[in-house]
């Protein structure tokens, strides 16, 4: 089946109800959840195991204190209530990647309950929201409030609970390592017992963009608090989505499907968008949605059914007798709170206030920890000029630096030739009109490639911008004198010819004339 209508069309008739389940491995810890085995991605198979994580008869679990601290930190960073009293439970089902054939997880009460994140949805992302234009700025509807640039959405977090990851399997004999059609599988328990936190949202999300932004924001938070490397590619941050549709205005939820394998922000968005369109088509044709697990296939751009759930799974959940219950003390919780760093949202607010940036710029600066840190370092170096240099520095980071990093996958800003000192130097060259903004882009690229200071590059390439009015005036006069017919036409109303004159002047000056000064002089002389 292929989706025939666009998402925006579908969302006119249908309301999508989306909830996310987001698993994060606590990769920054040294050891596993219930044993002292080393956490390491990519090691030889079965080289990080012990009686506990191999599920040997007689082995017993002992929880990692740092993992409990990490989940409490995650809860505090996502506005959750920290439940002092909770227990681990056993979730019983047989599967070859689970050494004990039960997963140790939490029961009805998790360490973190009842949290929320507020999403800033703006730009093109806001377009997916139904009838946003009917709202005035500041006006509220359901869980959103209209803002200048889009809207803010309040997304509830049901809980974050602590659990352990399973081992990894390689499927042999089928196509492309898929489980379907495989004749054998290899099991590696290195990952078994990796501390895992699962965040479950309320079904508060209404568009794929909101889901993507939620995931992005959560990732930023987890990175800021340092509990995971949040690699969607390596699977240390994983997201499942629950999607159902209901007619606009309907109160009852429709039947939901569970979507898996959305291992990038794009896949998360596209998978959900596809699934919404697919469900709409089925429903509009009088069909029925089955409660099933579906797999997003990004190459074929469709979702494929993995398993139909006829009845609710019965995992025989019961309290884990081998683990003591928790009764966290205020001291413990406060000691974790003391470790809470400034979160991206708070940082953006501070940037906006301290450096007179727009909310939009500030938010983009803090999207990545390293660009935020880079910006902050620049502002320290700028000293008294911070207020005037903040905007150009922000632009430089948001546009040029981000584009560079996006184009060079795996490159870390700190490893490049572009230092905060060079950024300041570049922006100062721009501010005192030594170079044009176009030249600034060239200098930025040259810094990255040659590892020289911006001033040295400008000097070496002789690309200093000419702002001297006398020199420019001579060129302007020459150009006007050489084109009397065009001057005549301009004065006759063809004001579009101004571009021609500027171009001629720039050509004369080998691109080094200050366009601002040229424009001013042309305007004066042609009036």
């Amino acid at each position: 089946m292929s989706a025939v209508r666009s998402l925006e069309e579908v969302l006119v008739d249908w309301e999508a109800v989306i909830g996310l389940e987001i698993h994060a491995e606590l990769t920054t810890l040294e050891t596993k959840m219930f044993c002292n085995c080393k956490l390491e991605f990519g090691a030889d198979p079965n080289t990080h195991t012990c009686p506990v994580c191999l599920g040997l008869p007689g082995a017993l679990p002992v929880p990692n204190r740092a993992a409990i601290e990490s989940i409490v930190l995650a809860g505090l960073a996502t506005n959750c209530d920290i439940e002092k009293r909770s227990m681990f439970y056993r979730k019983n089902y047989m599967y070859p990647d689970m050494p004990k054939n039960f997963q140790t997880t939490q029961g009805p009460v998790a360490f973190c309950m009842r949290g929320h994140l507020d999403l800033d949805v703006d730009g093109p992302a806001a377009k997916e929201r139904y009838q946003l234009d009917k709202l005035a700025v500041g006006e509220e509807r359901e869980n959103i409030i209209r803002t200048d640039s889009g809207y803010k959405a309040h997304v509830g977090i049901t809980r974050i609970h602590m659990e352990e990851d399973a081992g990894k399997m390689v499927h042999l004999g089928g196509g492309e390592g898929r489980i379907a059609g495989a004749t054998h599988s290899l099991v590696d328990y290195n990952r078994a017992g990796t501390p895992l936190i699962e965040l479950v949202t309320e079904p508060d999300l209404r568009t794929p963009e909101e889901a993507r932004l939620f995931m992005q924001k959560l990732r930023q938070i987890y990175l800021a608090i340092g509990i995971s490397d949040c690699s969607m590619e390596e699977g240390s941050l994983r997201c499942d989505g629950n999607v159902s549709l209901r007619r606009r205005g309907a109160k009852e939820f429709g039947t939901k499907t569970e979507l898996k394998n959305m291992n990038s922000f794009k896949n998360l968005h596209d998978g959900l968008a596809y699934e919404i369109c697919r469900q709409a088509e089925v429903l509009e044709e009088g069909g029925q949605i089955y409660q099933e697990t579906r797999h997003w296939d990004p190459t074929q751009k469709r979702t494929i059914v993995m398993r139909v759930k006829e009845t609710a799974d019965d995992y025989r959940l019961f309290p884990e007798p081998d683990l003591a219950p928790y009764d966290l003390s205020d001291e413990f919780i406060e000691s974790v709170r003391a470790k809470l760093p400034e979160l991206p949202e708070q940082k953006a607010l501070r940037f906006a206030q301290d450096f007179a940036l727009s909310a939009y710029d500030a938010r983009h600066l803090v999207e990545h920890r390293e660009t935020a840190a880079f910006f902050e370092k620049c502002m320290q170096l700028a000293g008294a000029d911070a207020a005037t240099l903040s905007k150009p520095i922000a632009n430089l980071i948001i546009n040029d630096v981000t584009a560079y990093l996006n184009a060079n996958e795996g490159v870390v800003l700190a490893d490049t030739q572009f230092t905060p000192a060079r950024a300041i130097e570049l922006v100062r060259l721009l501010a005192d009109d030594t170079i044009s903004s176009k030249q600034a882009k060239e200098v930025f690229s040259a810094v990255m490639e040659e590892g020289l200071d911006p001033a040295a590059i400008v000097e070496a390439r002789g690309m200093k911008q000419v702002s001297d009015t006398g020199a420019i005036e001579a060129v302007v006069d020459g150009v006007l004198a050489a084109n009397p017919d065009k001057v005549e036409q301009y004065k006759g109303g063809k004001t579009g010819l101004i571009g021609f004159f500027v171009g001629q002047c720039m050509k004369e000056m080998k691109g080094q004339g200050n366009p601002k000064v040229i424009n001013e002089l042309l305007a004066k002389k042609l009036s």
Binding site: P51, L54, G55, L56, P57, G58, A59, L60, P61, V62, P63, R90, N92, M94, P96, P99, K100, N101, F102, T183, V187, Y189, A312, D314, R316, L317, F318, P321, D322, L323, A324
Partner: protein, 523 residues
């Protein structure tokens, strides 16, 4: 050389002999292994002997003696010891008397075992049991039953039947067992031994194959109260590998000689009137009560109104925990793997069908049912509430008394095959189960032979949580009357057992299971 039988000696006698160089640890190991080889055909207490480890440990001790460092060897130095086969000991088979684990070789050692070794005990082998500790007679062992040294046609009790028989036959001086509903105390009673199930949390469970995680506890079988106390000193205490183990600083030998004068000892009238309690056992409990009174204890009637619910609570909680604990036996990483299957589910199904005996299968199925949606609230949750009531009963009783005296088992050892109905077999544990439910300490103390059967009878002493020293003190007082537990008559050193009873080595009788071979288990 010496003609002394080390497995019949106490820790003090062994230490004394080593210290005065009457014999060496090597002789202890050597002679003990010879005795086991000669006599265990009759009892079948052992599933495996550990010659190499025995001699290594003996060499360590002899080296210490040569350097005058015996005092640093621990209170169990040179003591012949063996372990229930649900305790991992690196390099040995740990089979839980199941086909499932017939070829499993432990890559690690249980904390309780390593602590016994650290205290100087000489490891002689691994001991038979009911499969995965499901049973009260050791008849469910996949490798054939163990025979009671007092009467080879009777069961030794269970599930730690091998542990009891080995000590009763004087093959070792101490053994470890595990007790989930009575599995130390009941065979202790059947074989006439000092058999201690400490308070839950006194001894680490790490490395002991779990049956009921909230009920299991490890403890020693000995022939004297002092040896039990020495063993507990070695075993007790916090283990960083077991969250439920506790800091214990008690010296369990400290108050053994204090007597019971001034102690208040509880008796439970409902227990004494219980249906199924035989006259000879009842008479022995009353006799023990009289002795304690004469020794200066005050006997107080206490009520445990909810104790009769313990049985059903236990047969809910035990199977639920067991179902989950036994899920790991899936044929992938260890354990029986039925060959030739093309898909995982059929490999699971066949491996677990063949690997598990009928009682294990029954309990797994039962536990899975009791935890299923809707049923959980009918049985599992109420069982945990009943646990609260039983715990409160004991707490109230211990406001009045320091220790409770009760029967261990309703009867003495029975003949093989005498009880075939599983629900009737479950009644063997009627007096012991509530102690596991409440997590208290309990022990069996031998008080001679029953008037009718002539078989050993034990009385049960039950202590408040983490007051295990109370019951040992009462036990020591009873020992002053009855004497230390004797080695079973037929196995006394002076007995001629050159022609052991004609009992086949049951391991050979199990079709299709090949013990100790490398590679796949064949069925």
């Amino acid at each position: 050389m010496t003609d002394q039988v080390f497995g019949c000696m106490s820790a003090c006698q062994i230490r004394e002999g080593l210290a005065t160089r009457q014999f060496s640890a090597r002789e202890i190991a050597d002679e003990s292994l010879k005795r086991i080889r000669a006599l265990d055909g009759a009892t079948h207490a052992f599933l495996e002997t550990t010659e190499e480890m025995a001699f290594e440990q003996a060499a360590r001790i002899d080296a210490a003696i040569a350097s005058d460092l015996l005092d640093e060897m621990g209170s169990l130095a040179g003591l012949p010891a063996a372990f229930k086969d649900n305790m991992n000991l690196i390099g040995t088979h740990t089979t839980c008397s199941s086909r499932m684990l017939a070829n499993y070789v432990s890559p690690y050692t249980a904390t309780c075992v390593s602590r016994m070794l650290a205290a100087g005990a000489i490891p002689l082998g691994k001991l038979n049991m009911d499969e995965f500790a499901f049973g009260s007679s050791t008849e469910t062992s996949a490798f054939g039953p163990t025979h009671n040294p007092w009467n080879l046609s009777c069961v030794p009790g269970g599930s730690s039947g091998g542990s009891a028989a080995a000590v009763a036959a004087g093959l070792v001086s101490v053994s470890l067992g595990s007790d989930t509903g009575g599995s130390i105390r009941q065979p202790g009673s059947f074989c006439g031994l000092v058999a201690v199930k400490p308070t839950y949390g006194v001894v680490s469970r790490y490395g002991v194959v779990a049956f009921g995680s909230s009920l299991d506890q490890v403890g020693p079988f000995t022939r004297s109260v002092e040896d039990a106390a020495y063993s507990l000193n070695a075993l007790a205490g916090r283990d960083p590998l077991d969250c439920t183990s506790q800091h214990i600083t008690t010296d369990f030998t400290a108050n053994l000689s204090e007597g019971v004068r001034g102690m208040r000892i509880g008796v439970v009238p409902a227990f004494m009137e219980a249906k199924g309690l035989t006259a000879e056992v009842k008479a022995k409990v009353e006799e023990a009560a009289d002795h304690l009174r004469q020794l200066g204890a005050e006997l107080v009637e206490v009520d445990l109104p909810n104790a009769q619910a313990a049985m059903s609570a236990y047969y809910v909680l035990g199977p639920c925990e067991a179902f989950s604990n036994l899920a790991r036996f899936d044929s992938i990483r260890y354990g029986y793997c039925d060959p030739g299957h093309k898909d995982m589910n059929s490999q699971y199904d066949a491996s677990r069908e063949i690997g598990f005996g009928s009682e294990a299968r029954r309990r797994i199925m039962l536990g899975s049912y009791l935890l299923s949606a809707g049923v959980y609230d009918t049985y599992y949750y109420p069982a945990q509430q009943v646990r609260t009531l039983i715990t409160q009963d004991y707490a109230r009783a211990y406001e009045q008394v320091d220790c409770i005296l009760a029967p261990v088992a309703p009867r003495t050892a029975f003949e093989f095959g005498a009880i075939s109905d599983p629900t009737e077999m479950y009644l063997s544990d009627m007096f012991t189960i509530s102690i596991n439910i409440a997590g208290n300490g309990g022990m069996s103390m031998p008080v001679g032979l029953g008037a009718e059967t002539g078989l050993p009878v034990g009385v049960q002493l039950i202590a408040p949580q983490f007051k295990d020293e109370n019951m040992l003190r009462v036990a020591a007082a009873l020992e002053s009357v009855y004497g230390p537990a004797p080695v079973a008559t037929a196995f006394l050193p002076e007995s001629d057992l050159s022609a052991p009873a004609n009992i086949p080595d049951a391991r050979d009788a199990v079709p299709g299971v090949v013990l100790g071979e490398e590679g796949e288990c064949r069925a």
